[in-house]
Symmetry: C2
Subunit: 269 residues, 2 copies
Amino acid sequence: MNFCESLNAAWQQADSMLCVGLDPDPARLPAHLAGSPDAILAFCREIADATAPFACAFKPQIAYFAAARAEDQLEALIAHLHAAHPGKPVILDAKRGDIGATAEQYAREAFERYGADAVTVNPYMGFDSIEPWLAHRDRGVFLLCRTSNPGGSDLQALEVGGERLFERVARLAAGPWNTSGQLGLVVGATFPAELARVRELAGAMPLLVPGIGAQGGDIEATVRAGGRRLLVNSSRAILYASRGEDFARAAADAARATRDALRAAAARL
Amino acid sequence: MNFCESLNAAWQQADSMLCVGLDPDPARLPAHLAGSPDAILAFCREIADATAPFACAFKPQIAYFAAARAEDQLEALIAHLHAAHPGKPVILDAKRGDIGATAEQYAREAFERYGADAVTVNPYMGFDSIEPWLAHRDRGVFLLCRTSNPGGSDLQALEVGGERLFERVARLAAGPWNTSGQLGLVVGATFPAELARVRELAGAMPLLVPGIGAQGGDIEATVRAGGRRLLVNSSRAILYASRGEDFARAAADAARATRDALRAAAARL
């Protein structure tokens, strides 16, 4: 089964477009977990188990693990996600991008070491920096296209031959670069008009959409712009819904509410 | 001492523009080291110690360590480089790029965990993805500008308002983005005319130049185009000069030859 088929099955089975982002900031962990040697793993595992009924996928952000010297906890987390929640893809948010020989090593890191089902990749270095990822035929690759941060406009919104840079990335990703149907795109929820434009260019390609919740993107506008083939990511609004001992239940409540809002918006399409 | 001052001192003290790239491919290690549990560290340490007399800086590529589950060896390597070769900056080649909150974590990884003196960063997500790195005032940040790989042209050579995208990146990095003098640029040796153009735009900013050696860039053309404020990186041509037990001596010979060729080219400026 290739990544797009897995994702189709995950959407259908969960009846949800919610992707739960696992960005464990050590400074924001529940007080009763802080200090334990595998606090990050324990926190993410409880969040994942509590939110799984409402999610179609998980997206751990590797930076939080790397900064905390906790690669072993990331390995254990992804192994747990696969074992406890089969059928829900794990997207490793790493935003790597390097020349071919180095990209091969990064692909080994993401797909072999961590066993991720998909990754995020930066397109600035062009197609030969993306190709080594695609050699892993059953995995998916989400290219950064229009990112959710304010500075995303600095380069991505520049005009290149009658279209903006992010439109060119979308066009390349939907066309010549998508040699094997493994590509998706990352498009922020904070720019719904641009999300709609990417959807026009990208056809049925899956879009990973960060930016709702803490970053301010609107669910209704996101679904209207992007349609049904979305992985709408929420991280901080779920992870830090409570810092008390009830953090997992609070996270589940936040995930359910987001799942429901996404469903309601999709029903109005 | 800020990073540019450190780099000025390193250039002067070493009288060399050579940066030795430490990209330890497990498949290409000397036969007698392969299989030992810290083979990567032992290999890189011997290469560094042998080539240090000819180098002004070192550039470990994190992908090779991460793919091999060898972050601890990267920590030990950088600690060794600082202890054994003080005054030679260590540039962690990581090409990270993410939204502010995540970039903070990546900066902690590179500067606090690994103790790197500088890093490489991808500019696609714009200035707010670069800013958190600059909060570490004594460190340097090399932004990808014109990369050495063929696909580097796919996006970087696109016209944006009368200049190419990499020229825009150079102009931003030399101007509004360089709020604290910590920025440098990555420009491949494989495109000397474009290196010359970046030098025009970037003034005296340090340029990290990969692409000589295995990637085919020419030393003479590189120095003519880029001038003296260059970190000219060579990885594979030095690391794999021999796979026998004489690998460190062969690496030293290759490093000396490259250093000498760089000096000769600079003398003709």
